[in-house]
C-alpha cells in the first residue's frame, strides 16, 4: 500500500508535471532545429523515459529522468 501511494499519489503526478514541461521544451528544440545538441538528446531521453515510467509504473524510470530533466532545465536557464 505504501508503494502504491508513493507511485500513484506522488510519483505519477510529479512525472506528469515534468512531462508537460519536457514535451513543450522538446518541440521547441526540434522547431529551432537544435537536433545535434546534448540538451535535445537529454530532453528527448528524459521525455521517453518519463512516458515509459508512467505507462509501466516503474518508480526509478520516473525519479531519475524527472530529476535529470529538472537539473538540466535549471542549468540551461
Amino acid at each position: 500500500m505504501k508503494d502504491f501511494k508513493l507511485l500513484e499519489h506522488n510519483l505519477i503526478p510529479c512525472s506528469l508535471f515534468v512531462l508537460n514541461i519536457s514535451v513543450v521544451h522538446l518541440i521547441y528544440l526540434l522547431f529551432i532545429n537544435n537536433t545535434q545538441s546534448l540538451i535535445t538528446l537529454l530532453a528527448f531521453s528524459c521525455t521517453i523515459f518519463l512516458i515509459a515510467g508512467v505507462v509501466m509504473k516503474k518508480k526509478y524510470l520516473m525519479i531519475f529522468p524527472a530529476i535529470t530533466y529538472m537539473l538540466l532545465l535549471f542549468l540551461a536557464l
Binding site: E8, H9, I12, F17, V23, Y28, F31, I32
Partner: protein, 443 residues
C-alpha cells in the same frame, strides 16, 4: 488521532476552495479556454482569410518593396497618422499599411488597413482591421470583448485557474485513494465517469494549466499592476522632439536604405513592423523578433534617425537582464508561438482541457445537487443548455463584430458581462438573506 483530524479538515477546506472557485469562475475559465485554443492560431486564421476572402498575396521577390504604396496611401489620405508598415513573415504574404485618419475636434478617428503586394509594390486591397475575425478572437480572449474591466476579469480568471489547479493537486490523492492512474471506473454512472475524467485530465495537464494561469493572470492584470507599482515597459523609448510634426510628416524616407541600415545595426532582428514618426521626433522604429527565441512578439526594438539613419535606441532581449527576459517570456509562454505549428496544436489540446475540466466539474456538481434536491433536472441537459447558450452568444458576438461593427459588439458584450455580474451579485445577496431569514432552507 488529532493529526488525522487536522489532515481531514485541511483536505475538506482545500476541496471547498476547489469546489467554489471552480463553480463561480468555471464559466470564465471555459470561455477563455475555448477562445484561447482558437487565439493560438490567430496568424494562421488571418492568413487564410486574407487569401480566401480578400484574395490578396504578394508576388515572389527577394526584396520587399512598399515605397510607392506608402506614397500612394499618403496621397489618398493626406491626414494619416501613426503609420505602421506590417512586414510579411514569409514569401507570398502581403505587407500591410496600418494607420489612422481624423481625430480632429469634430472628427472621429478611423483606422485603416491596406494590403500591399510587397513584390510589385502595389496596394491590392483594404479591410477594417477592427471588424476582422482575428481582432474578435484576440479581444474576446484578452478582455472578453469588454473594454471597461474585461482585461481585469480575465486576470482574475487566471488567478482562479491557478487556485483550482493547485487545490486540485493537493486533493488528488484523497480522491484517487486506491484507484490507479489512468483507470476509469466504468459502469458506475455518468457522475463517476465524469469525476474520473476530471481527475485524469486535470493531473495530466496540470503543469500546462499552472503556466497558463500564472501568465494569464499577469497579462490580464499587467496594466493595473504596472500602474500601481510604477513599473515601466523595458523596451519603451521616448525620443526627443526636434522638428515640427508637419516637417516630420514631410520628411522623405528611403525605405530600402532604412532596411539596409537596420540590418547593419541589428543583424539578427527579423522586423515585423516599421513605424514612421509624425510627432516631430524624426525617427523610424523597427519592432521585431530574433529567430529561435521564445520571447513576446515585437519585444526587440531598433530606433533610427530619419535624417542620418543613425541608431538612437536598440533593445535586444538577449542582452537584457534576467528580470526583463522574464517580463518578455510571459506572452510567448501563454500563447505558445515559439515552437511552430506542432507546439500550437499541443497548446490547443492541452488548453481545451481546462474547458473540459470546467464542464465535467459542473456536471459532477449538478449530480451531487440532484441527489439533495426534490426537483430533478437532468444534469446533462442543464450542462448542454449552458454550453449551447454560451457558444451561441460567442458566435453571435463574432457575427455582430464582423458584419455590423466592433463598437456594437463591444457594447453588447459589455451589457452581457456587466449584466451577468450584476445578476450574480443580486442573486448571491438574495440567497444569503433568504438563508439568514429561513435557516431551515440550509437543511
Amino acid at each position: 488521532m488529532k493529526s488525522n483530524n487536522t489532515a481531514q479538515n485541511n483536505s475538506k477546506l482545500l476541496w471547498r476552495i476547489h469546489h467554489w472557485a471552480g463553480l463561480y469562475c468555471g464559466i470564465v475559465i471555459a470561455v477563455l479556454s475555448l477562445t484561447g485554443a482558437m487565439a493560438v492560431f490567430i496568424p494562421e486564421i488571418d492568413l487564410f482569410i486574407q487569401k480566401q476572402y480578400y484574395s490578396v498575396s504578394s508576388t515572389p521577390s527577394n526584396k520587399l518593396y512598399f515605397s510607392k504604396s506608402i506614397a500612394q496611401a499618403k496621397k489618398e489620405y493626406p491626414d494619416m497618422t501613426g503609420l505602421i508598415v506590417d512586414l510579411p513573415e514569409k514569401a507570398g504574404q502581403v505587407a500591410g499599411l496600418n494607420f489612422f485618419v481624423g481625430g480632429g475636434k469634430h472628427l472621429a478617428i478611423q483606422r485603416y488597413y491596406l494590403f500591399v503586394d510587397a513584390g510589385k509594390d502595389e496596394i491590392v486591397g483594404a479591410r477594417n482591421q477592427q471588424n476582422s475575425l482575428a481582432n474578435y478572437l484576440r479581444q474576446m480572449h484578452v478582455r472578453l470583448y469588454d473594454g471597461y474591466w474585461g482585461r481585469q476579469l480575465v486576470g482574475l480568471g487566471g488567478i482562479a485557474l491557478l487556485v483550482v489547479a493547485i487545490t486540485g493537486l493537493l486533493i488528488y490523492s484523497d480522491f484517487m485513494k486506491r484507484q490507479p492512474y489512468p483507470k476509469l471506473r466504468k459502469g458506475n454512472g455518468l457522475r463517476i465517469l465524469m469525476a474520473d475524467w476530471h481527475k485524469l485530465l486535470g493531473i495530466s495537464a496540470l503543469a500546462f494549466n499552472i503556466v497558463i494561469a500564472i501568465t494569464g493572470a499577469w497579462l490580464g492584470l499587467q496594466p493595473k499592476i504596472m500602474t500601481w507599482f510604477k513599473m515601466k515597459t523595458p523596451n519603451n523609448f521616448k525620443p526627443e522632439i526636434i522638428i515640427t510634426p508637419e516637417e516630420d510628416k514631410k520628411t522623405t524616407v528611403h525605405w530600402d536604405e532604412l532596411l539596409a541600415a537596420a540590418k547593419k545595426e541589428f543583424p539578427d532582428l527579423v522586423p515585423n513592423g516599421i513605424q514612421a514618426s509624425d510627432n516631430g521626433s524624426s525617427t523610424i522604429t523597427f519592432h521585431g523578433d530574433i529567430a529561435g527565441k521564445a520571447y513576446e512578439r515585437n519585444a526587440n526594438v531598433l530606433v533610427l534617425s530619419k535624417t542620418d539613419l543613425k541608431p538612437l535606441f536598440k533593445y535586444d532581449v538577449r542582452t537584457a537582464p534576467l528580470s526583463q527576459k522574464f517580463y518578455f517570456i510571459q506572452e510567448a509562454l501563454h500563447f505558445g508561438n515559439f515552437g511552430g505549428l506542432g507546439l500550437k496544436i499541443l497548446y490547443t489540446i492541452l488548453g481545451l482541457t481546462s474547458a473540459f475540466l470546467s464542464i465535467s466539474g459542473f456536471v459532477v456538481y449538478l449530480y451531487r445537487m440532484d441527489k439533495k434536491k426534490t426537483k430533478r433536472y437532468s444534469p446533462l441537459k442543464t450542462t448542454f443548455i449552458y454550453c449551447t447558450v454560451i457558444t451561441l452568444v460567442l458566435i453571435a458576438l463574432a457575427m455582430v463584430s464582423m458584419f455590423i461593427g466592433y463598437s456594437v459588439a463591444a457594447f453588447a458584450a459589455a451589457i452581457i458581462i456587466n449584466g451577468a455580474l450584476v445578476l450574480f451579485i443580486v442573486y448571491s445577496i438574495f440567497s444569503y438573506i433568504r438563508k439568514k431569514l429561513n435557516p431551515a432552507y440550509l437543511k
